[in-house]
Amino acid sequence: MRTLKTRDAAVAVAMLALLAVAPVAIGGSRYMLSVLMNCAGLSLVAAGVWITFTIGRINICQAGFALIGAYTTAILMARYGVSYWIALPASALVAAALGALIGSFILKLRGIYFSMLTICLTEAIRLAFLNGGDFTQGSRGITGLQQPFATDSALPMYYLAVALLAVGLVVTWRVHDSRVGRIFHAMRLNEALAESFGTDVWRYRVVAFGIACALGGLGGSYFAVFTQSVYPQSFTVEHSIYYMLYCFLGGLDYVSGAMVGAFALTILFELLSRFQQYQTLVYGVMMIAVILLLPNGVMAIRAAARPSRA
């Protein structure tokens, strides 16, 4: 367990360090930078899914909360002329508040039911924005958002992405490697038993889900200014499923799992773009192969021989 934790921390720190110096290595390539920015944003959103995994819930509505974050930012900026630096934390707060509110009702569902319900929730949130009338501008979406930096260079946005990812990792780490994290772990293993030991299960579930949604909102807000637009189609069930896959692929026992998975799959996706129309097909085949061959994620390679935790 000690070695796994060390490896986990080492991977997280090494990846952040690599990201920090990456622009020097790849020069001015806007394409490469944007791929890495994409990866960082996706890791941030997926970290929220990872947190809900730690309480034993398979969360497939993260795209919905990313959409809420993105629309909060877009509406605040485009409609009310609010600065991005206020809209960004506001998006996280709105997503967290809505997540806690919805979560306080739906978190009593478990397993398959919770997963199916969250799929429907993603759809419901998308449809709500689609039918939001003038406020959300329906299927036309909100476009032409100002980027927060006045320069022509992509670097400030890049470092914003890396900084947000670092914040996301620290939050995840603090939540996981603390008393709260151990309570989450106990809840995942046996909710009834945890409750019988005096844990206020309901409250911790809502807290976990709220934090997860906040990360989703933060990521959504970032993507809104990164792409300078948001549409109801920006985050769909398919995206929710991808976030879940990142966590699986990276490994559900590792804080850096979501990040490892997001980077691996996104960069793979870019490399496969040569195969043009077959890229998602290859992606699907690979996914099945990964589950059959690496059932505990990339981070667990070689750790299998050692005693794993719980």
């Binding site: 397993g111 398959i112 319900l117 429907c120 419901a124 039918n131 879940m244 896959l245 097909l281 059959l292």
Partner: protein
Amino acid sequence: MLQVLVNGLVLGAVYALIALGLTMVFSIMRVVNFAHGQMYMLGGFVVYYLYGEFGLPFWVALPAAAVALAVVGVAFNRFFFQPVLASAAREENSMLMAVGTALLLENLALAFFGEKERGVPPIVDGSFIVGDVSENGAILTYPNALVALLSILFITALLAFVRFTRPGRALRAVAQDAEAARLQGVDVKATTTLGFAIGAALAGLAGGLLVTIYGINSGVGTNISTKAFIMIMVGGAGVTSGAIVGGALLGFAEAIGYEMLPGSVTYLLIFVAMIVFLVFRPNGLFGKPWG
């Protein structure tokens, strides 16, 4: 209003068929087959090619769709789900596998069939007209009537099969308690395979039926799966009667919604209603607490 009821009845019958297939697989393996909608889509394409393109009779094309999907189901079960269920430490892995198969099928279909919307010529022409259409009457076209009739026929046949035959009893036994069934001499592995084959075949049948009304395209899978989730959650996952009631409810809700509300508001309300309902009845109408 009568028209809405007629539409709801037709939709409800086919939806029940879709939900039954999903609930069958869930009851036996505790796996939600995310690829159910994609299997529906494949069934539609089998009928499109055999009946629409090659001109074979519909009565050949429809069973062919069921058989083709049963084969897909058996293969999926054997090569994808059994290994994962046997080895995985966490239940999440079988779910991820289900999502992976859905992705695979959808992209295979996109690569082979393209994105175009396909339709087939009607099997029968004409319609029943009840009363005066301009004043609360209703039209039921022969194709719609045929689809509803066949759906109800298949549902009845399945219920009879599960109720009265030996393999059917084995299916019910495994659904209740696989270990106890094994102790009683039931071949659990063969029964599981049979269950998965039937579930997939039902999806294929539903797709093959609805292609005659709505046509088909490679992208409908997720949409159909989501509808199937709504139905089995409202009815109660893994319960036959729940799937039928859930299907009928969704069919009527959709028919009423499309009549009274603009476009996508219908599903927004259906989702909200379902979430509120599940807050009060987490196991659905007839469900057991699966956890």
